[in-house]
Subunit: 541 residues, 2 copies
């Protein structure tokens, strides 16, 4: 019933970023260079380096041989009136390029969210802090394995790792080249990149064997790849460009989540915040500027089904919002692009089930109430099935329906989510009411209506203004890494401070899980708002 | 009359070097690594890095992606019992390799003297400080241009620079591979290299255009290439291996001379020393631990001829020493390998002319004295020609002779040399008597008998124990760079401290030059020893 990932998602957007230029990671400067003479016969490269050092505030500037070879010609052709592009390294700058002054250039970086299903690239103007373009594509590795485990398996075949790496790199490089071309420059004018992905995706992209990631004791090849160069990574941008690869905490907590923490800013917040990323796994980070804790992965089986399948991106005709009119008893569906409905997406499903509950058509056990549903509920080969959209109004020619097993799956997923949140906060001795911010990460998360999720008891009953949807935090974190001078250090600090806890699906967890398999919960005192919404027979929307 | 450079010179030798292992530039260590477990799931690379950091005393260890990819497999195949090879970088170590423990390996480096005519490679055991093998070959760039200027010209042709670079690199890489193979390992077990050459040779090897070196105001592309990697240089050793390229002071004072200063140790000596390198140019360095001064190049034309042509390497049958028996009036020649004489080499020529002078057969103007020479002096088409070896004793079938123009050329060369030495020391307000050490660099220099050179007035009349022949100082300096931990810093310090002075061939220089065109000098009080040797009619040898 849920939509497939579209092959090519494009989004235009201008990140509202403003920073002091001299704190940037990649910078352009205009060194003042005097032409050589008999009384000043410093060599060309040394002369340039010295001028760039002065211009960048005295720090050491390094230059590699490839660029060194081009410097004398560029300096002389442009009579020493040049602009230098440099990237910050540990305690030094690396010269990346030398351009004629006033040649009209952009200083561009590429932020990449390397997702298992979808890869999103964002080209960023590093000086204006502005997004030039953003494009996504299905991870071409999907052809060789839909999920992480299949790909790890494929990678251990002869040549498999290289096949996966090349498939992704080729597509990514083509996309960057295309985007650069659209903006009138070439990919070698992209002077920096940051890559955020889960542990396995990072391994596959870097050509590191993920074999041991899924085998006890679950050891990645590397957690901190550090600052690499585009050349060694094989990224089709300027060879010398620095490539920041987000570090992993471990096999089940990857760089995408570190990027999420960076994007949320929780590592600098005074009050404690929680960050929840609902993808193919449920991953949670909790903390503030003093401590950070994370857990992920082990509750996976309980989350299979509903939420996992809902975690997909929207497409035209897909139902993303549902409202219920208590007066007319009508369900009103909203579709993307206003097209006739063809399916339902995660956020739409959560809306739908919460509305059916408030209307009394689904009970607190998550079962359809035949009397309340009336003729819309039919028995299809022994399976109670609810008609959401009649055939006459649908875009498929047939009715769109919701079956009892669909709802059951959602009940398991939401119960697992709530149980994880309860368990994680309890571990640090907090109640969920003490959370100052509740960040929801992931494209899926950005469409969820918090009221609906609270109604289902999927997330805690907090004042609604504490919920913040961050969208693609992996991409957002990667973008910040490009724009903040001290991002690499901050990312390392986040990684080092995280206490990673393996979620234990023990008897206590299962007890909590059982208690959460009701709408909103067996303990209704945890959800006072829901009682109010119930008595109003809806949200009043 | 002088020998050609043999195509392949081989020398075995054990440099007497002993250093504390932990000060080395490239080091091996045995990190203690615990196998991972469920309670210690640090990633493989991070685990290794941490252990190597502990083993190397806490400094940061970096590793590049190529090696990172191999680490998990090596660690697991050898059950974490490994040896790590690392090279020192600024404030950190770079991991170069990971080997099974007890696999029996050598830690090898390559020191290269990149000469215009001859290239010499020395493979060094970096732990024992021992030379494994040394081999020389004619610089293959000679095919495209015999001297520096022709090569600079050739390099400016389309593809010329690359042709010159590849010609040298290919030959050098083949030589290193052959040498490694001879010792039972592969070239990727060579973990470091140092390259010392004059400014143009360094440019051509690194693929830097030397076009502006020979054009006013004589600007090299780069003076300080810094620490490069074998990969970027194209050197066929381990890709990640550090390559130290000796810096230049300027177009006419190259890295080979910095290497010479390093080899002499004059930058650390309390007393003032002079270093003289007589190759295709006369280059002089002067100084002590407080100051360094150098000059080179401009006196070139005066040195063309004799000395320049003598600056060649020895070969079997070439006369390298000459003695005179006053009692019998016989000249006794010594040849390399004891073979019948086929020619004479620089050191032999200096010996020969000084003996002929002491025997009265050449006068103080450098002219043959017919009465004293007797039948050995013949007129060959108006040119006085002296028979050194009669046809009956020679290895060529004909007599070996010395003509008046040969001696004239030597007189010009030696006068130029002495004038340069006088000028340079006078510049800093010293007399030559105040020189604590007189270092002679170059293979040519290592064969010169100081007594003979003093007799001719080529070098000052100092106590003979102050003369120290250093042989190939370029190669020796390059070798030290491989073995000393702080060589890179020391080399930079030498470079930065040198005051480079262009020798001005003005009227005063020409006056001094004219005065020096006598044996030993117009002012005989400068050479008291020669008067004593004259009255003894020889050295008593």
């Amino acid at each position: 019933m849920c939509s497939k990932v579209p092959a090519h998602i494009e989004r235009k957007g201008n990140g509202p970023r403003s920073m002091e230029e001299d704190r940037r990671w990649v910078r352009a400067c205009r060194p003042e260079i005097r032409a050589p003479g008999l009384n000043d016969n410093t060599a060309d490269v040394d002369r340039l380096i010295r001028a760039v050092e002065r211009s960048l505030g005295g720090e050491v500037v390094r230059v590699d041989l490839t660029l060194m070879r081009r410097i004398p010609r560029i300096l002389r052709d442009h009579r020493y009136r040049v602009e230098a592009v440099a990237a910050r390294e540990e305690g030094a700058w690396r010269l990346l390029d030398l351009l004629p002054l006033g040649g009209g250039r952009s200083l561009v970086g590429a932020a990449v969210d390397v997702g298992t299903s979808t890869v999103v690239v964002r080209l960023v103007d590093l000086e204006a802090g502005r997004t030039l373009e953003e494009a996504g594509f299905v991870n071409p590795q999907s052809e060789f394995g839909e999920d992480i485990l299949t790909r790890i398996h494929f990678a251990s075949r002869d040549g498999g790792l290289d096949t996966l790496r090349r498939a992704l790199l080729d597509r990514l490089n083509a996309e960057i080249a295309r985007m650069a071309d659209d903006h009138g420059f070439t990919a070698d004018r992209v002077y920096g990149a940051s890559l955020a992905g889960n542990t396995t995706m990072t391994h596959l992209l870097l050509g590191l064997n993920p074999f041991w990631i899924c085998r006890e004791p679950y050891i990645p090849a590397v957690n901190r790849p550090g600052l690499l160069t585009a050349f060694e990574v094989g990224l089709g941008i300027r060879e010398q460009a620095p490539v920041l690869v987000f570090p992993n905490v471990g096999s089940y907590f990857g760089g995408d989540l570190i990027a999420g923490i960076l994007a949320s800013g929780m590592d600098r917040s005074e009050s404690t915040a929680i960050l929840v990323d609902v993808g193919t796994n449920a991953e949670v980070a909790l903390g503030n500027r003093d401590w950070l804790m994370a857990c992920a992965g082990a509750a996976g089986p309980a989350l299979e089904g509903g939420v996992a399948q809902m975690g997909m991106m929207a497409a035209p005709g897909v139902i993303d919002r549902v409202t219920y009119r208590p007066d007319s008893g009508r369900l009103e569906v909203h579709t993307i692009g206003g097209r006739p409905p063809v399916g339902i997406c995660g956020s739409g499903l959560i809306d739908l089930v919460s509305r059916l509950f408030l209307a009394g058509m689904i009970d607190m056990r998550g079962k359809f109430v035949p009397d309340a549903c009336g003729s819309r509920l039919r028995d299809e080969e022994g399976v109670p099935t609810f008609e959401v959209v009649p055939a006459s109004e649908s875009g498929t020619g047939g009715p769109l329906t919701l079956s009892q097993p669909d709802v059951d799956a959602l009940m398991r997923s939401k119960a697992a989510m709530y149980t994880i949140l309860t368990t994680v906060t309890a571990m640090v001795g907090l109640s969920m009411q003490e959370l100052g911010r509740f960040f929801v990460a992931g494209t899926f998360g950005s469409y969820i209506d918090p009221k609906s999720a609270v109604t289902l008891g999927m997330i805690p009953d907090l004042p609604l203004d504490r919920f913040v949807s961050l969208g693609n935090t992996s991409l957002e974190g990667a973008t910040r890494a490009l724009l903040e001078a001290d991002a690499a250090e901050r990312i390392d600090r986040i990684r080092d401070r995280i206490t990673y806890i393996e979620l234990n699906v023990n008897q206590e967890f299962m007890n909590l899980f059982s208690a959460a398999r009701f709408i909103p919960h067996t303990d209704r005192s945890l959800f006072p708002s829901v009682a109010a919404w119930e008595s109003a027979q809806g949200f009043g929307d």
